[in-house]
């Protein structure tokens, strides 16, 4: 049961345009959401996050939107740059029954920004 879903495995965008990466989740107990970026042969790195009590968080060119009623979040990158080409993982978190910070990752979306 995939609780965090990224239904688009890949996305191509022209440089300078907006990139929109989508993520859906099923567990209403998730209360914090993160986006990680991963380049080939490297580990994921944290990009931006949002608490479930907010609907938007912005950091430079990156904005994450959260729609709790739809259990949907999206990452907007404006303007897109070739260096943004990477795999983006959506993640949702909450405290597990075992007391650890349980993070559930999506399957990733590969973004290609075309110069």
């Amino acid at each position: 049961d995939q609780q965090v879903k990224q239904n688009s495995p890949s996305l191509s965008v022209q440089e300078g345009r907006i990139s929109i990466l989508n993520c859906d989740y099923t567990n209403s107990m998730f209360d914090y959401f993160l986006w990680y970026k991963k380049y080939p042969a490297e580990g994921p790195t944290f990009l931006i996050s949002i608490s479930s009590i907010k609907d938007k968080n912005e950091d430079g060119r990156f904005t994450v939107f959260l729609n709790k009623s739809a259990k949907h979040l999206s990452l907007h990158i404006v303007p897109s740059q070739p260096g943004d080409s990477a795999v983006y993982f959506c993640a949702a978190t909450g405290v597990s029954s075992g007391g650890y910070q349980k993070v559930t990752f999506g399957t990733g979306t590969k973004l290609q920004v075309i110069p």
Partner: protein, 113 residues
């Protein structure tokens, strides 16, 4: 050392052999994690540790064991490797409590034949 290091970078292993993947962090994070990344499945948690001396099972713990003798090191052991354990393995660490970002190592690519 800066951040998290993993060793080896890659390994080809015969089925049935024992293998330990090493992970070391220098950020003094109490929490550490092991994930595997498989195509189409994202990152799945194998084991975690909230502090030295304690460990716990994640989503896919079968066939793996971990230990946490000190804050910095969190080795992952495959006692008898099987081909389904072919994957890329990532170690991560974070502050405990709240919803803190995890810092990932560069990964170990393991192939079990």
């Amino acid at each position: 050392i800066a951040g998290i290091t993993q060793a080896p970078t890659s390994q080809i292993l015969a089925a049935g052999r024992r293998m330990t993947l090493r992970c070391t962090q220098d950020m003094r994070h109490n929490a550490m994690y092991w994930y595997r990344q498989d195509l189409g499945l994202g990152l799945r948690l194998i084991h975690y540790s909230n502090t030295a001396g304690t460990t716990g099972k994640g989503e896919v713990p079968d066939g793996y064991s971990v230990s946490r003798a000190n804050t910095d090191d969190f080795p992952l052991t495959l006692a008898s490797a099987v081909p389904s354990q072919t994957s890329v393995y990532f170690c991560a660490s974070s502050e405990v409590g709240g919803y803190n970002e995890q810092f990932f190592g560069p990964g170990t690519r393991l192939t079990v034949l």
